[in-house]
C-alpha cells in the first residue's frame, strides 16, 4: 500500500490539480523505486545511483527551470512538493536532487552565459551530467565570506587552487560549480563561480568516511590543485557572496518542504505502529502518552505544511525574502528532528531497526539541521531581520 500523506487541515484543496499530479507522480515513484532499496543503501553507505535515469526521465532534476532547457517548467509549489516527496523517502535522495537542481543548474541558469546554459542545462536535466556545488571549505562553513580557494586569471584562462568540504555528489559528479576568490583573500566581492568538469587535471574528490547520517548520499572532499580552466569557465553574471547565497536560498526553500516529507513519513509510521502494537492487552495507540506524542507530531506537521504552502505562494508571486526562507528551513527541519525522534521512541526497540524508517530519518535530519545554514545561523538571520542588528 502506498504512502497516503498527512493532511489534517484539508490543504489538498489549496493545491492545483497539476501540483497534486506532480506530487502523486513523485510519491508513486518513491514507493516503487526508492523504498525497496533505501534500507540496504543506507546500511551499505551507498547512494542509489541506478535511480538517477528514472529521476531524470520523470523530470525531477531542475523541475522549476524553463522548458527550453529540457526542464519541466513547474511552479515553486510543485517543485516544493517534489522535494517533500523525495525526502519522505530519504534526505539523501532529496539532497541529490536539491544539489543538482538548486545548486548546480540554478547558478548556471541565473549567472551563466547562453552558451553555458545551452551546453549544460539539458544534460543536467537529463541526468547525463551529475553536478556538485563547492562553496564550503574545511575552515569556512557558516562563514563562507572567508573562503580561501583562489582563481587566478592567466593569459589563457583561470587556475584554481583550494579545498572544498562536505560536498554532496562530490565523488560522482561530472561537473562542479566551484566558488573562488579572483582577488585578494579579504575581497569578498571577488567571489565568482566556475564551471569545472571534474575530469580536469588537478581536480580530485574523496569520499567523506565514517558518516552516521545521510549514509545513502555521496558526501566528499574536493581538492583543486592548479586546476587550469578556459576563460569561459567563469559564470559571467556571478559576483560577490550574494551569488552563491542566492543558490542556497533556492536549496533551503526545497529543504523546508523536504523536512515536512521526512516528518510525515515518521508520523505515518508511528501512527500505524501505535494502532497495531499491542501491549498490556491493547494497542499502544489507545494510551494517553502515545496519543499525546501523536497529537504533538500532527500539530507540528500541520503548522509546517501551512508554512511551506504560503512560502511557495510567495515564491511564485516573486515576493519571497531570503529571511522568510530561513524561517521555514529553521522551523521545519527542527520540527522534523523532533517528530522523527518521538516516532523512533514510540516504536520502542523496533524503532532502532532499519526496516522501520524513523531512525534513518532522525539520523539524516541531524545533517539537514546543520547544512544549508545551520539552525543557529538561521536564528541570527531572523534576529538581524527583526532588530536590524547583526549578531554574527
Amino acid at each position: 500500500m502506498g504512502f497516503a500523506g498527512v493532511d489534517f487541515y484539508q490543504l489538498e484543496g489549496a493545491f492545483s490539480e497539476e501540483e497534486r499530479a506532480v506530487r502523486d507522480t513523485v510519491r508513486a515513484w518513491v514507493d516503487e523505486q526508492l523504498m525497496p532499496v533505501i534500507g540496504d543503501c543506507y546500511i551499505e553507505g551507498r547512494f542509489p545511483k541506478q535511480l538517477i535515469p528514472g529521476l531524470a526521465e520523470l523530470g525531477v532534476l531542475g523541475a522549476n527551470l524553463p522548458e527550453q532547457y529540457g526542464c519541466a517548467g513547474l511552479n515553486n509549489v510543485a517543485y516544493g512538493l517534489i522535494m517533500q516527496e523525495l525526502e519522505r523517502g530519504d534526505s539523501g535522495i532529496r539532497s541529490f536532487a536539491s544539489v543538482q537542481g538548486a545548486l548546480v543548474m540554478y547558478p548556471i541558469f541565473a549567472f551563466g552565459s547562453d552558451a553555458q546554459k545551452a551546453q549544460w542545462l539539458p544534460r543536467l536535466a537529463g541526468g547525463q551530467e551529475i553536478g556538485c556545488f563547492g562553496l564550503t571549505e574545511p575552515d569556512y562553513g557558516s562563514n563562507p565570506a572567508g573562503l580561501i580557494t583562489t582563481a587566478k586569471q592567466t593569459r589563457d584562462g583561470w587556475v584554481l587552487n583550494g579545498v572544498k568540504m562536505w560536498i554532496t555528489n562530490g565523488s560522482q559528479a561530472s561537473v562542479a560549480v566551484i566558488w573562488a576568490k579572483t582577488g585578494a583573500v579579504d575581497d569578498v566581492k571577488s567571489i565568482r563561480g566556475f564551471i569545472v568538469p571534474t575530469a580536469t587535471k588537478g581536480y580530485s574528490a574523496r569520499d567523506q568516511k565514517g558518516k552516521l547520517s545521510l549514509r545513502a548520499s555521496d558526501t566528499s572532499e574536493i581538492h583543486l590543485d592548479n586546476v587550469e580552466l578556459p576563460a569561459d569557465a567563469v559564470l559571467p553574471k556571478s559576483g560577490g557572496l550574494k551569488s552563491p547565497l542566492s543558490c542556497l536560498t533556492q536549496a533551503r526553500y526545497g529543504i523546508a518542504w523536504g523536512a515536512v516529507g521526512a516528518a510525515m513519513a515518521c508520523y505515518d509510521e508511528a501512527l500505524g505502529y501505535a494502532k497495531q502494537r499491542v501491549m498490556f492487552g491493547r494497542p499502544i495507540g489507545g494510551t494517553q502518552l502515545q496519543q499525546a506524542r501523536l497529537a504533538d507530531m500532527l500539530t507540528e506537521i500541520t503548522k509546517a505544511q501551512c508554512l511551506t504552502l504560503q512560502l511557495g505562494r510567495l515564491k511564485d508571486a516573486g515576493t519571497v525574502t531570503p529571511q522568510q526562507v530561513s524561517l521555514a528551513k529553521r522551523n521545519n527541519v527542527s520540527m522534523a528532528c523532533d517528530v522523527a525522534r518521538e516516532a523512533r521512541r514510540l516504536l520502542g526497540a523496533n524503532g532502532i531497526l532499519v526496516e522501520y524508517h524513523s531512525m534513518r530519518h532522525l539520523a539524516n535530519l541531524e545533517s539537514v539541521y546543520t547544512y544549508e545554514g545551520t539552525h543557529d545561523m538561521h536564528s541570527l538571520i531572523l534576529g538581524e531581520a527583526v532588530t536590524g542588528l547583526s549578531a554574527f
Partner: protein, 250 residues
C-alpha cells in the same frame, strides 16, 4: 494507428471507504478518485502501440461527473493526444446505458482499436467494452494479456484457468485489457505540464435508458477472532474434526 481508450474515474482502491446513508452508494466524503487500474493498462497498451508503430492518435474517452476531467488529464499527461468528456451527473451502474452513450461517439471516427480495461475496479461488471462492441458491430476480445498488431490484423492472448488462448482478429476491433500486459508508466512532470495544453471536448452524455439500479450495498461481516482448540499434536484430531464438521472446509 488511431486508438480510443475508454477510461473510468473510480474511488482510489487504497482509500478506506464507508457506505453512505442511502445504503446504496459509497460515502463520497474525503474519497480520492483515480483512473481505474485496468484502464491504466489499456492506456499503456495504446501508448506502446503508437510508440512502436509510429505516430498515430490516442483519444481518451470518459463518461462521468465534473471530476472526470482530472482522469482525462491524467491520460493526456501520460501521452494521449486529446480527451472527450461525456458529462453526466453520475456514472450509472447499468453498463448498457453507458455503452449506448459511448457507441455513437466512437462510431465512424476511424478508430483502428477501441480499448477498455478488463473491468472497472469499483463496479467490476466487465460489460461496457463487449456491449459497446456489440452496438458498433465490431469484433471484441476480452481480458487481453498479450497483444500484437500487424498488417491490420491482431493476435491476442487470454489467460484462462490453466490455459492460454490465442485469438486472431481483424481491425477495427474492441479489446478489453487485462493486468500484467504492460506495466503502466508514471506521468512525467513535463507530461503533466503538456497535458494542460491538450484539448478536452466536453459534451452531455446521451445515456441509454437505465434499467439496472443498485438496491443496497453492505460491507462484508467483520471477521471474528480465532480460537485455540488445544496445543501440540494432541490438538490435531479436534482441529480436524472442527475443520470438517464446523468450518466444513475438509
Amino acid at each position: 494507428m488511431k486508438i480510443a481508450v475508454c477510461i473510468k474515474r473510480v474511488p482510489d482502491t487504497e482509500m478506506r471507504f464507508a457506505i453512505a446513508s442511502d445504503r446504496k452508494s459509497i460515502d463520497s466524503a474525503g474519497i480520492k478518485y483515480d483512473l481505474s487500474d485496468f484502464d491504466g493498462y489499456a492506456t499503456e497498451v495504446a501508448l506502446r502501440l503508437n510508440e512502436q508503430q509510429g505516430p498515430g492518435e490516442i483519444v481518451a474517452v470518459s463518461l462521468g461527473p465534473e471530476g472526470t476531467q482530472e482522469i482525462l488529464r491524467k491520460a493526456l499527461s501520460l501521452g494521449a493526444d486529446r480527451g472527450v468528456h461525456l458529462a453526466a451527473d453520475a456514472i450509472p451502474f447499468d453498463s448498457l446505458a453507458i455503452a449506448r452513450a459511448l457507441a455513437p461517439e466512437l462510431k465512424d471516427q476511424g478508430f483502428d482499436l477501441i480499448l477498455f480495461g478488463r473491468n472497472a475496479t469499483d463496479t467490476g461488471n466487465a460489460c461496457v467494452g463487449p456491449m459497446t462492441a456489440e452496438l458498433l458491430g465490431l469484433p471484441c476480445v476480452t481480458a487481453v494479456s498479450f497483444l500484437e498488431i500487424k498488417d491490420r490484423e491482431g493476435i491476442a492472448h487470454r489467460e484462462l484457468e490453466g490455459v492460454t488462448e490465442t485469438v486472431r482478429f481483424p481491425l477495427p476491433a474492441v479489446l478489453s485489457i487485462d493486468e500484467g500486459i504492460a506495466r503502466p508508466r508514471l506521468p512525467s512532470l513535463k507530461g503533466i505540464m503538456a497535458a494542460k495544453k491538450k484539448p478536452i471536448e466536453t459534451k452531455p452524455a446521451q445515456l441509454g435508458p437505465v434499467q439496472l439500479t443498485v438496491e443496497s450495498l453492505e460491507l462484508p461481516p467483520e471477521r471474528t477472532g480465532g480460537r485455540i482448540v488445544g496445543e501440540g499434536a494432541a490438538a490435531v484430531p479436534e482441529l480436524v474434526r472442527l475443520l470438517r464438521d464446523e468450518a466444513k472446509v475438509l
